[in-house]
Subunit: 436 residues, 2 copies
Amino acid sequence: LRRGATNNLKKALGKIHPADIAHLFRYFDLKDQKKLLVLVPDMEQAADVFSELESDSQAKLAEQLEKDFLISLVEMMADDDSAELIRSLPEELAEDILAAIHDDHSDDVEQLLGYDEDTAGGIMSTDVFALGQDLTVKQAIEALQDSEDYEMVFYVYVVDEHNHLVGVLSLRQLLTVPPATSLADVMTSDVLRVRTDMDQEEVAELVAKYNILAIPVVDEHGKLMGLITVDDVIDVMRDEATEDILRMAGTSEEELLYGYKSFHVARLRLPWLLTTLVGGVVTGTLMWYFKATLEQVIMLISFIPVITGMGGNVGGQTSTIIVRGFATGRIDFSMIRQVFFKELRVGLIMGTTCGLVIAAVAMIWHQNIYLGLVVGLAMVMAISVAACMGVLVTAFFKKVGIDPAIASSPFVQTVNDITGILIYFSTATLFLHHLI
Amino acid sequence: LRRGATNNLKKALGKIHPADIAHLFRYFDLKDQKKLLVLVPDMEQAADVFSELESDSQAKLAEQLEKDFLISLVEMMADDDSAELIRSLPEELAEDILAAIHDDHSDDVEQLLGYDEDTAGGIMSTDVFALGQDLTVKQAIEALQDSEDYEMVFYVYVVDEHNHLVGVLSLRQLLTVPPATSLADVMTSDVLRVRTDMDQEEVAELVAKYNILAIPVVDEHGKLMGLITVDDVIDVMRDEATEDILRMAGTSEEELLYGYKSFHVARLRLPWLLTTLVGGVVTGTLMWYFKATLEQVIMLISFIPVITGMGGNVGGQTSTIIVRGFATGRIDFSMIRQVFFKELRVGLIMGTTCGLVIAAVAMIWHQNIYLGLVVGLAMVMAISVAACMGVLVTAFFKKVGIDPAIASSPFVQTVNDITGILIYFSTATLFLHHLI
């Protein structure tokens, strides 16, 4: 790239799949990415490469490009990809581009921009191959032969004169019926469809559940507005999984947008840290409140980390199981009772095991049977309570409409630190005269 | 179901999509599931319903069914679904079924059972629509019209006389060329394909990257063995995400198989808990070692939970970002240096913020400037070290070939508890004469 052997490079680029070129971009800085993109021999391929980039790299690169080049690029891109790009650009640039691109394309893009980006309308493409119900199969095949614009045609959607979706046909069906039949006679009229305002996660669930390749999107009157194909669904599912995982760790998907901007990243992660900080101070205050007990029996300190650590871990495990159960539909509210008692049983089993181990450690280490008793008992209780809290806190967050992934790790752990310390020191205070 | 209005129920079931019936099964116990399945009016639909069940429910239900019914069911199922079911059955039952089903089907199933279940061979279907390269387009269309067995045909694969994959055609291409052309003249000969032994996760990545609907699977000689469609890929991606999330919490996907068997579930989660337990005891021993410091300055105890809690959280966040980065391909080893320094910077920023807050809290609470200094300084160091450890431990696990998701939460947190306590008490001991 640096040696400027541009002609050879151009030839080579012409032969590589756009997705592979896009993958290469990760290893270059913005300046080189720009050079490389301009070198891609034809504009359509350049648009494909650009569309394949992650949306954060796309936005950054777009700001670096010459405006004319960017405009030609957007004109070549599919309308849903264009809308997604424009959404992530600074407002002024976005408006300039919308004003400059070709009318047809800009109407579609503007329409798409009108939908919330997490809904079916926000991820659909308006390039949907639909035919009138009065056409014959022969006419449909002819229309199909002229339909170069539609890259992925698997189903032919059938609409009435007002563009209401009335049926669907597979390409294979077209091949297997007499050419003179009208579409209305062979189509399946019971078409699975989604509304433009349906949440993208629900759309993904539907496509996964019914194993379909594409789902048509209609407005509130049943008019065909667009199409969501299975490759969009794959992106949605991957993004949702990433978001869940990051939320469980107390950060957000936006972090990926900021990349190496440390201050932005820190700002995203800080809210949870400060919550943990408050929780830690509360736990510390509790310990301070029990300092008389602690001063009398200093050996109690050696088991503080193990009690809080185990409670946090068990709560985290339970909460994770529930979060993922809700996300994949394995768990719903009608099962919460069952799940609660299962986790309680599991907690008791694990608590007893760990309690026996730690009791033995305590007795041998400090040569004190009562210390063993106190630590072991506290462990059984702390773990069982943590398991129950894991279920209850997560279900509560879900019930009040907060993403339960947020409830996971940091929050549950802080709660369990507090209950763990309370349980431990209360037990110790109860047996205090045996311990001294 | 209980009132035995079986006739009405049969009619109703006939009209419901198999995926929806399968969804209903979640709300019934095994006995009712069995009754309901037997009621499904035709065997093919029953097989579809059965295929849609989660693999754990499938195996449990299969053991309850009459053997003859189960055998007819398996005969109706797609070969890949049959193989998946047989894999999860007790050995004896699996052999009986394999022996009883029709020869054609059992050959295919046995072949599939020969592949590792996490590879392309393990998830592919052998029902692939392939035609000889010498056929004409007209003959191909005729073959397609007779091909009722292949539910999802989008591409026509072209093979030579030894069944080597030599090309591919889309259905639309078939419609747009003259009927007398031979397939060899119109096919694309550069076909994206995978080997039977490729890991299923890599297959999923390829399908997602190139936005394709199906990918042909070949053996080491290039012979066409099967096909993986995008709906299989969706299942793979969802399972992998679930597995990652559960591993991060220190449990495993097997947990879902055991459902409400508390002892099994506890056994799966215990290894991590016991690791945490050992970690907790180590941390406790360290605190015990510093007990002289602690006895002299008892107010130090009030900040133990906040120091260890924050370190654990930051380490968990960093580690999660890296784990997910590796999983989605956003991060690879060539970037680890960059990522390390980014996380260090983020850690310093967050550490300074939290350090200032906690220093203020300490000064106001205990009216001691030096305590504030010690706690604040320890916080900055503990958080920065935790951020670095999050990167290093995760990258190390990845490097030595252990799933880095395991390295996350529990392990990183335990490590950070230990370093946090060490940093805190060392700092306190250093400033001891100011604190007393």
